[in-house]
């Protein structure tokens, strides 16, 4: 049921990724200041934006879970956060590589967006130990949703606070998509953004399918009154 549409989605994702890579390396012009290094942004910034939207989505799904008590929303929330955390790792590593290439240091505190992202990442990284420390399954799902809602509210506030902490002497040092990007760069950026967004959606769907299947196998086992095997996910979309 969750796997339906996964194949066309994956194909679309691969196609978009291929298109995006071609544009990045064959179409987009070379940046005046940063040169070839700037090309990292077509990867780094979309990953960051999609991850952040994913975190917020996790919070929205959590609200749905709290209101309807339908286990499916909890699974959506968990998987959204999970995939976004993985994307977050990629964001931080590519950000560090960019910093090293630009400034010779693997980390710079002057880049408020990157610093904010680190803090958000650190918070969501605590989602797992938090969740799995709660043993009762219903309570675990409920509390995890509360966490996801709180963390979702935290994201914009955190970005604002970190941005403000930047002393006015240090201006923003790289232009994101908001800054004036020439047309070809903008197109390349948008295509990359679409590709990464599609990738996120595909992976979320993939993970949900696996969890759903795992949960159903478990239910089958129980229905057949057989002793439980190893593994199987507790965070399954179907309520058992």
């Amino acid at each position: 049921m969750y796997g339906k549409g996964l194949k066309p989605l994956s194909i679309a994702t691969v196609a978009m990724l291929a298109l995006s890579l071609s544009l990045v390396f064959f179409y987009a012009p070379l940046d005046g200041d940063q040169g070839f290094i700037q090309k990292i942004f077509y990867l780094h910034v979309p990953l960051a934006m999609v991850a952040l939207v994913g975190f917020i989505a996790g919070g929205v799904f959590a609200i749905a879970h709290l209101r309807t008590d339908n286990r499916k929303w909890d699974a959506y929330s968990y998987v959204s956060i999970h995939i976004s955390v993985i994307f977050g790792v990629a964001v931080l590593i590519t950000g560090a590589i960019w910093a090293k290439a630009s400034w010779g240091h693997w980390w710079v505190w002057d880049e408020p967006t990157l610093v904010s992202f680190l803090i958000v990442f650190l918070l969501y990284a605590t989602y797992y130990p938090f969740r799995y420390a709660i043993e009762d399954r219903d309570r675990q799902a409920r509390y995890a949703s509360v966490f996801a809602v709180t963390a979702g509210a935290f994201v914009p506030l955190n970005f604002m606070a970190v941005r403000m902490a930047q002393s006015l002497v240090h201006p923003r040092t790289f232009a994101t998509a908001e800054g004036g990007l020439p047309g070809e760069m903008m197109l390349t950026f948008l295509v990359s953004l679409a590709a990464i967004a599609l990738l996120w959606t595909t992976l979320v769907k993939f993970e949900l399918t696996a969890k759903s299947a795992s949960g159903q196998v478990k239910r089958l086992r129980r229905a057949l009154d057989a002793p439980a095997g190893g593994g199987g996910s507790r965070i399954a979309p179907e309520v058992s």
Binding site: F130, A133, S145, A153, F154
Partner: protein, 226 residues
Amino acid sequence: MTPSRSAFAAILAKDLRSELRTLQSLPAMALFSVTTFVIFRFGLDRTSLSGSLAAGVLWATLLFAAVLGINRLFVAEREEGGFDAIRLAPIDRSVLFTAKVAALLVYLLALELVAVPIFAIFFLEDAAGLGPLVLVLVLTDLGLAATGTLISSMAVNSRARDLLVPLVLLPLAVPLMIAATGATEPLLSLGGPSYDRFGTWLMVLGLYDLIFGLVGYAVFDFLLED
């Protein structure tokens, strides 16, 4: 008094009374703060602090003292079975949240009543910045109280509750710390207090308090249903 408000007052009174009864943690937290100041004196190799160093030392110490003290309010409740009585009472559970936040706020303010003057005695050249600092303290404590209550209410039902509260609370407290130190640094600067962006930082604190107060109030019901 409406039923909600009298319930609020009752719970608040009960918490404060149990805190006064145990009396252990407040002096302990004050002691912890003072010892931490001593460690900073040697760690930084400074005998007087001003500006950003002063703000950093003060707020780091207060934050860790708060985190250490935060679990207590809920741990005691759980162990004494107070939760059950409240669950059965026909009141809005979000009132419990408000009462807890208020109790934690009072607790933190009492801690600072001891720790901040000692900090001033140890490190500050002049105490002129302390007056406006009270405003920063109150607003930050409110944020810590709201978030701390929310997180510790969830952690108390988990296995690794001692680790969980600091682990989850610290990232959440970062914007508070950014704003608090941002406001405090110019207050404690060498030439006397300045109010560079003071209003802005206070607004950030207020915004944090509002958002997490509302979030906590809204979701607290879901934490107690069993």
